[in-house]
């Protein structure tokens, strides 16, 4: 594939290969202060994070997101009233909030997909979702490609998609497989087993194994993808995580008193299920994974890999605009 830009008129002076000078450092220079400098700068600009939740209604998506971010980021749909109609297609609802912790400001956007998997005929119900994700890439690409660009391009791309698997205990449904097959190529998918308090420990382990097997057999790579492991350290760390996915989670925003402590949980006649207790469910693992260790990596994989793939494909298609572009694009296309 030929480059689209003509060659520069002269070759740039390329510095020699770096010679390693390591042991001659007498006295402190202060290079390591760059870490602190960088940290200060990033804290000042703040972060964006966009998380999408996909799954049939009633699987506890909103509750889980609220539990993850310890606030009412998502308003629970109170079930479909008789008067309200079930939406004919999947809707995409994005709600943004600003949350702050430890001096770090984060603009969190939760993208809900009500109507997914709820119709009788669910063919192609992933299409509106794929369309939305690609639209965000398109928006970013348009900004990036401007002559006079913004200092900081607003990032609305979906960094993480939590896919909720129904805890049937058997295996994945065809809808689950179809969705993940289509979308694992464009976005980071993290499958979670919802409402895990309906399974015993053995059922849980068996179910997880079967799900993993099925995903592997169908060639579905969920996040963290094996192919993006950078080095051995990454690989071992991510292998451990991959082995314990999908996480079987329970969500709750109610607090109860257990052993003198107030904990988030679900109260049942047979006991209180503690959400953050690792022996009860794997919520804490999911939270640590998504927020405390891999949040930045989720964004980077989205930017460096998924977005770049979209961009390369887009620039390669000789003027062939995908059908979902905004109207004005189509008008201009015809003007050309």
């Amino acid at each position: 594939m030929s480059e689209l830009v003509p060659e520069p008129r002269q070759k740039p002076v390329v510095p020699m290969k770096p010679t390693g000078i390591n042991t001659n450092l007498l006295g402190y220079i202060g290079i390591d202060t760059i870490i602190e400098q960088m940290r200060k700068k990033t804290m000042k600009t703040g972060f964006d994070f966009n998380i999408m939740v996909v799954g049939q209604s009633g699987l506890g998506k909103s509750t889980l997101v609220n539990t993850l971010f310890k606030s009412q980021v998502s308003r629970k749909s109170s079930g479909w009233n008789r008067e309200e109609k079930i939406p004919k297609t999947v809707e995409i609802k994005a709600i943004g909030h600003v949350i702050e912790e430890g001096g770090v400001k984060m603009k969190l956007t939760v993208i809900d997909t009500p109507g997914f998997g709820d119709q009788i005929n669910n063919e192609n119900c992933w299409e509106p979702i794929e369309k939305y994700i690609n639209e965000q890439y398109e928006k970013f690409l348009k900004e990036e490609v401007n002559i006079a660009r913004k200092k900081r391009i607003p990032d609305t791309r979906v960094h993480c998609c939590l896919y909720f698997i129904s805890p049937t205990g058997h295996s994945l449904r065809p809808l689950d497989l179809e969705f993940m097959k289509h979308l694992s190529k464009v976005v980071n998918i993290i499958p979670v087993i919802a409402k895990a308090d309906t399974m015993t420990l053995e059922e849980k382990t068996e179910f997880k194994q079967r799900v993993r097997k099925e995903l592997e057999v169908n060639g579905i790579e969920f996040y963290p993808q094996k192919e993006f492991d950078e080095d051995l350290e990454d690989k071992t760390e991510n292998d451990k995580i991959r082995e314990s996915m999908p996480f079987a989670v329970v969500g709750s925003d109610k607090e109860y008193q257990v052993n003198g402590k107030r904990v988030l949980g679900r109260k049942t006649p047979w006991g209180i299920i503690e959400v953050e207790n690792l022996t009860h469910c794997e919520f804490a693992l999911l939270r640590d994974f998504v927020i405390r260790t891999h949040l930045q990596d989720l964004k980077e994989v989205t930017h460096n890999i998924h977005y770049e793939t979209y961009r390369a494909k887009r620039l390669n298609d000789n003027g062939g605009l995908p059908p979902m572009t905004v109207e004005t694009e189509e008008n201009h296309e015809s003007n050309l």
Binding site: L25, G30, I31, K40, K70, I99, V145, I147, H332
Partner: protein, 417 residues
């Protein structure tokens, strides 16, 4: 957008750490350009700043023009790896005609921007592990005349101020007395202002660094002394220059501003220098370059024009040109082939003719030989005939003779009887 309050610890305050860890594992790039006359102390200052002896030969004064020499080093401190590139202007200020001295410098800086732009415009690109060669800081070495800036300095700085972060410094500051230094500094700063030279402004927008940056800015341009030699001061060894009248200590803030320079350049603003290079200088270069190439953001009706479309239009144009060139080349190729074919045919014809000629001559020779053979045979035949005839005659003659003698004999005998 609503502000929400959290009811517990979520944990995303580790995000800056996550970000920084990623960058640490990749390593950082920092590129410094040193502009100044030969012998003004650029290499020594770099050695002093980074506590190392970067190998370099002092340049001579008879360079025909200015050229840039770039060298890269990998430094490591605790867990931070820094890819440092130091670019030197060799021969700056040595020529008799210095009109074009600034040009190689501007070209070099632009070339680094161009390389980055090329990468950014590629279809399949890898920006996240791109080795950034763009100049993050330009240390401009001012000669310690004590009077004012040289016109070469003003011209060069004016050409560079929109392309790179300029930090002016007074070199070999130990040749200026303290009271003269103050006057010199104010003169320089006012000259820069009156000529509209934009030097790098230390950022004052963030509380933690605003104070230190503001206090340091007052001392611009920094009057520095460089030295890698150590002299014993009291009971410690310190970097210094030893004169008969005393010792100039590099890291003594009363003696020179070296510590301030190090503080500002490395320990406080290194990241800001990198960011300014990327978000201001590079963006400006990119904007100018793309506009030059004919891209616009809005068309004559000021409807937003997508770069995509001009991109695609240009691409089609380019492909069309490529196609034309390809066709031309193909035509030329076909022509050449035809020519060669004709040549070869000619040669073939020649060869055939030669062959025919040879064949004919051969035939002729053969015929001649055969003729001769025939002649010889005839002669031989004749000879044989003659021989035969002669023999016959002889035998006849003999017979006749013998008959005669017989007759004679008979006659004789008969006469006797």
């Amino acid at each position: 957008l609503r502000n929400l309050s959290l009811s517990g610890h979520v944990g995303f305050d580790s995000l800056p750490d996550q970000l920084v860890n990623k960058s640490t594992s990749q390593g950082f790039c920092f590129n410094i350009l040193c502009v100044g006359e030969t012998g003004i102390g650029k290499s020594t200052l770099m050695d002093t700043l980074f506590n190392t002896k970067f190998e370099s030969e002092p340049a001579t004064h008879n360079e025909p023009g200015v050229r840039l020499k770039a060298r890269s080093y990998e430094l490591q401190e605790s867990n931070v790896r820094l890819k440092l590139t130091i670019v030197d202007t060799v021969g700056f200020g040595d020529q008799i005609n210095k009109d074009d001295s600034y040009k190689p410098i501007v070209e070099y800086i632009d070339a680094q921007f161009e390389a980055y732009l090329q990468e950014e415009l590629k279809i399949k690109r890898s920006l996240f592990n791109y080795h950034d060669t763009r100049i993050h800081a330009c240390l401009y070495f001012i000669a310690p005349t004590g009077h004012s800036l040289k016109s070469l300095d003003l011209v060069t700085m004016k050409k560079l101020d929109s392309k790179v972060n300029i930090i002016p410094i007074i070199a070999k500051a130990d040749t200026i007395a303290k009271n003269e230094l103050h006057k010199f500094k104010s003169k320089i700063m006012s000259e820069l202002v009156s000529n509209g030279v934009q030097i790098y402004q230390f950022p004052t927008d963030e509380e933690t660094v605003a104070e230190i940056n503001a206090t340091m800015s007052v001392h611009l341009p920094f009057a520095v002394v460089g030295s890698t030699e150590e002299v014993k001061i009291g009971n410690k060894m310190a970097k210094a220059r030893q004169y008969p009248w005393g010792v100039v200590q590099v890291e003594n803030e009363n003696h020179c501003d070296f510590v301030k320079l190090r503080e500002m350049l490395i320990r406080v603003n290194m990241e800001d220098l990198r960011e300014q290079t990327h978000t201001r200088h590079y963006e400006l270069y990119r904007r100018c370059k793309l506009e030059e190439m004919g891209f616009k953001d809005t068309d004559p009706d000021s409807k937003p024009f997508s770069l995509q479309e001009t991109y695609e239009a240009k691409r089609n144009e380019f492909l069309g040109e490529l196609q034309k060139k390809e066709d031309e080349m193909r035509q030329m190729f076909v022509m050449r082939v035809k020519e060669k074919e004709a040549e070869l045919k000619e040669a073939e014809k020649d060869l055939h003719e030669k062959f025919d000629h040879l064949k004919r001559t051969h035939q002729e020779e053969k015929k001649k030989v055969e003729d001769k053979k025939k002649e010889l045979e005839e002669e031989l035949n004749n000879f044989q005939k003659k021989k035969a005839a002669a023999q016959l005659l002889q035998s006849q003659a003999q017979q006749a003779g013998s008959q005669q003698t017989k007759k004679d004999k008979d006659k004789k005998n008969a006469s006797f009887t």
